[in-house]
Symmetry: C2
DNA sequence: CAGAATCCTCCCGGATACTG
DNA sequence: CAGTATCCGGGAGGATTCTG
């Protein structure tokens, strides 16, 4: 509580640069967008089968994450402009998700992460 | 506690694929290695000025993270094979960090994440 | 069918103090 | 100088229940 009143700035000559304990590293910002535990999985799923209905995602993720968590992750991806949500005013209701144009630019980045992981894990397993 | 005895498997026909609530998505695994709040910053710092002494890192990160947190993050990076730690048996003690060969392969991946973030944030700020 | 609302748990990172 | 040791709070994500 005592530290809620802005951090002690003694000795800090350039507070802007430090951004007050916040880390404005670009990569850290990327993690805020796609670092959610299931987000890349969802982006891939929606990319591979587009548009994707909520019910399909739910079925595929069943017994892995709950519906509540699924909804939360999707909402955040939508808020950050990665996916588009379209609700049809029908009965029963239907909701479809697609990757936005911005979201599509993520795919190559995700692929490069996957490629790095493959090489990394292979290397790690070999050297022991 | 009740859920410690392996999760209810009813209705799961293919437990291996689900990996028991674990997410074996490659990208998620990458996040476990470099997803720590300050790790990419540290990797960049060590890469740009190699070898890097602990004291230098501490000074650069002063008023941003504590020494304890710095040590923890470095230890994890070392454990995961990204950086190499070399301690000299001198007095006063000296410790140097370098990127491992494996760690160097991270640099292009980090650059691609940075590039994506630049484009992303520009796009987001324009469209509102 | 799709989601909102609550409550709860776990763990990462932070503050502080002590050490060879 | 470069660490450990210990305690602690906050936030992400999960379980459960209720709704149009």
């Amino acid at each position: 509580m005592k530290n809620n009143t802005i951090i002690d700035n003694e000795g800090i000559e350039n507070p802007e640069k430090l951004n007050l304990k916040e880390n404005n590293c670009a990569v850290t910002n990327v993690f805020k967008v796609i670092g959610g535990k299931w987000k890349v999985l969802l982006v891939n799923a929606i990319y591979n089968d587009c548009p994707k209905r909520f019910g399909e995602l739910k079925r595929e993720m069943e017994n892995v994450i709950t519906q509540a968590t699924l909804t939360t992750q999707l909402r955040e991806l939508e808020r950050d402009g990665i996916i588009c949500r379209k609700a049809y005013a029908e009965s029963p209701p239907r909701v479809e998700y697609k990757l936005s144009e911005l979201g599509k630019t993520l795919i190559p980045v995700i692929r490069s992460l996957e490629t790095w992981w493959d090489a990394y894990s292979k290397c790690v397993s070999e050297q022991k």
